[in-house]
Amino acid sequence: MTTLPLVKRPRRRSGRDRQLSAGKGVYVALAVVVALSVFPLYWTLVAASRDNASLSQVPPALLPGSHLFTNLRRAFDQADMQLALVNSLIVAGTVTVCVVLTSTLAGFAFAKLRFPGRGPLLGSVVATMMVPTQLGIIPLYIMMANWLHWANHLQALIVPAAANAFGVFFMRQYLVTAIPDELLDAGRMDGCTTRGLYWHIALPAARPAMAVLGMLTFMASWNDFYWPKVVMTQQNPTVQLSLSELASGYIQDYSLVLTGALVSSLPIIAVFLLMGRHILDGIMQGAMKG
């Protein structure tokens, strides 16, 4: 091991220059797929910028109109979108920080420390990834509503999500190869405590994986629907709940509903556009390592 390559992980040559180069047909097919992937979201923008009359004409409108700000104002008035956005931001932000922290700690221990029971404990982490979350939802609701009295409070969304098996496993897989054992041994020789090793070696090395895990966690938390639907009410909603409330009105107000969909998706899509490359890497590397 040389001096400082520990932050960079060994990058597999993807053999890019040896792949078959794509013909026209491949590009056309991919263009169709990308268009189909983007179109519903583009159309959401179109609908959110028009009034209802122009949405019900034949042939349908396919270009954005001029009512976006009117619709936004209506959405913020009608559903409590402001509160919902703030709530979702608090929940997703806190959950992300907690998950990254707990996963880095446990992932480091499982990857690099030896202790009795490590194998079975790690096995139990993997096993819990297989158990469907819905199985425990009723008792979890009973706990929140009857015992802790957290129902309809944000901590009901935050605390149960503060650690998860996927994060621990993800971090463990990353740190196994990202930190050379020799470095830790050297640290030990110099009298470093385990906390010192964690702080000075593991955390810096884990930074790229922390960023990926953080983004994946933030998106999952922001997009979560089932558990907020069970434990929260419309008086204290997340963005997804506000959106579902808008959509369940007696009178279908299409442009209003789709404005809600736009508002709820924009923050996530913005994150994705800024950091998408890392998310791609995270998903593909996660697939390879697993």
Binding site: S14, D17, L20, S21, A22, V26, Y27, V33, V38, T44, A47, Q57, V58, P59, P60, T102, S103, L105, F110, R114, R118, V126, M130, V131, Q134, L135, G136, I138, P139, I142, M143, V159, A162, V168, Q173, V176, E182, D185, G191, M219, F225, Y226, K229, L243, S244, S248, L258, S265, I268, F272, L273, G276, R277, I279, L280, I283, M284, A287, M288, G290
Partner: protein
Amino acid sequence: MAVSTGTPPAASRSNVPRGPEPGAAPVRGNRWHRAERRLSPYAYISPFFIVFGVFGLFPLLYTAYVSLTAWRADTDGSQHDFVGLDNYRTLLHDQFFWNALRNTLGIGLLSTVPQLLLALGLAHLLNYRLRGRTFIRMGVLLPNVTSVAAVTIIFVQLFGRDFGLINWFLGLFGVPHTDWQAGTWSSWIGISTIVTWRWTGYNALIYLAAMQAVPFELYEAAAIDGASRWRQFRSITIPVLRPTILFTVITSTIGALQMFGEPLLFSASQTPMAGGSQHQFQTMALYSYDQFWGKFKYGYGAAISWAMFLVIVVIVAVNFLLARRMKGVEAA
């Protein structure tokens, strides 16, 4: 895949290159130091295990107890009303449960199979040398980033009977307007479309990652031997991808069997928990939610949850067995 190879090889691997651990650093081996070293691993993993134990494991076990009671949220003291296996007996004769099971399996098949086949084809395309590949990959992943609620609500408008774009588009080919929510098949197709749209790109990227690990020489050798592209795909790509395919089959099966948000929001009616006017797209998760949240039957809802879990275990086991058989056939 994430599951099978995780523990044992890696654990033993990291054991090998380490020196003899105790006594390797005798320099400052005072007692406090040794204790810190011995105990801190447990301190590091404890936050995860505490949260998981309290909010993950305990509710899981407690569900089993709740499912043996006649606990109703609207009846005081009913949580101690132990009824044994009564809830499960009721379940066996509950036509709505069987209906929900049928709907879940139908929608699950309709969404999982096309989704994974499309993903495989898409991954094959993405595996060519491409200009702007990051852009294309991000475009393909974009649907997966959007929330279930937003996606479903957007598609409900696209599937709208009178002014929906999909009916308009089909109308160009002379297909009469469809009320997608009304029929069994049409609603299943509608919901499956939403799931497929949301997950195809994600699975394609997972396949792509596995495809890029295939050595190019294999294809070269096959091409020299005169194997066609299709033959190469079938005889090289697919076998190499088998563990990945099994992984995606299992994760998407588990996802499909728990489907909740899509059918709930797809119904676009005042009674969304019913899953359609004739319950034609009420899934198991929706039915469980309807019973415990809408009708306050905690005990019965918990029994449905356990039945659901059992179905998931059986189907995942069948997947595993099929995969093993396929492997056996090919080896022979």
